[in-house]
């Protein structure tokens, strides 16, 4: 399948690949998998005291579109508040990368991953407050 230019760019030069400490209370980790293709995606965010995402990292085992979707998303969420980040829709990712219909699920995966990371962070914060 022919990949679009932007997909190739992110695939060949993925941004923000790596890991953050998942046990750190300022880090939210989202793990999702796409059974359609067996892709696994991990997306992590580091949030400052004002609820702004300072850093984001990802690790994706999947096709070019899945890698590009997560790479793009980490770029987008940096500097955004949790609220803003949670409003990113998979359709925006798909549109930016010009994903073909059969690869739309890769952008769905990325959206699910950021949602999961945000809720993991919020759960951690709630726990933190309870124990404090």
């Amino acid at each position: 399948m022919a990949y679009g230019e932007k997909v190739l760019d992110h695939y060949e030069n993925p941004r923000n690949v790596g890991s953050l400490d998942k046990d750190d209370s300022s880090v939210g980790t989202g793990m999702v998998g796409a059974p359609a293709c067996g892709d696994v995606m991990k997306l992590q965010i580091q949030v400052d005291q004002n609820g702004v995402i300072e850093d984001a990292k990802f690790k994706t085992y999947g096709c070019g579109s899945a890698i590009a979707s997560s790479s793009l998303l980490t770029e987008w969420v940096k500097g955004k508040t949790l609220d803003q980040a949670s409003q990113i829709k998979n359709s925006e990712i798909a549109e930016e990368l010009a994903l073909p219909p059969v690869k739309i699920h890769c952008s769905v995966l990325a959206e699910d991953a950021i949602q999961a990371a945000i809720s993991d962070y919020q759960n951690k914060q709630a726990e933190h407050k309870k124990s404090a």
Binding site: V32, G33, P35, A36, G38, V40, H105, V108, L109, D112
Partner: protein, 180 residues
């Protein structure tokens, strides 16, 4: 020439519609049907017969492909039970499962550092096969009890193992090429 296309694939191969199948019977019946309907046998027949032979053969081939693969067979059983799959929306969020999948994939990347990478890959393949076997057992049990949600989850998880085994094999081939 007559063929009943309303038969499901299990019926085509005269097997019970179940997850556990008689593989020898599948293989025997496949060969028998293949030779019975092989398009080569109908070269002198009418165009209509030729077309029909082609259609039957492709139905048989597709059925064989699905039934011999554990994950595809499981999924097909659920489809027969009218359990819906949606490739765009079905995602897995079972954290423990995904962490272990991630770890297995990282382990594939790390065999390069292993002094004996091929053995390390064999070990991974065994590990993956064991976990897959457990999932198959889970599916079998849920399917028998008509617990469709659990059965579907097992089918979706089996897909990750399929991908994983494929990745391990590709890595094995790449390493073997290097060693040659």
């Amino acid at each position: 020439m007559y063929f009943d296309f309303s038969q499901n694939y299990f019926e085509v191969f005269q097997l019970a519609t179940d997850y556990v199948i008689d593989r020898a019977a599948l293989s025997d019946n496949y060969q028998q049907l293949q030779s019975q309907y092989h398009p080569d046998r109908f070269v002198n027949n009418s165009e209509q017969d030729k077309r029909l032979a082609m259609q039957i053969t492709s139905y048989i081939n597709e059925g064989h492909k699905i039934l011999q693969d554990d994950q595809m067979r499981a999924r097909y059983l659920l489809e027969l039970a009218e359990v819906a799959f949606d490739a765009e929306k079905d995602t897995t969020q079972d954290m423990d499962f995904l962490l272990s999948q991630m770890a297995l994939r990282e382990a594939i990347d790390e065999v390069d550092k292993d002094p004996d990478p091929l053995t390390a890959l064999d070990d991974l393949m065994i590990k993956a096969a064991e976990q897959k076997k457990q999932l198959s057992a889970t599916f079998q049990c849920s399917y028998a009890n008509q617990e469709w949600a659990q059965a579907k989850e097992a089918v979706l998880k089996l897909q990750f193992f399929k991908r994983l085994q494929h990745q391990i094999s590709s890595k094995q081939e790449a390493l073997e090429d290097e060693l040659l």
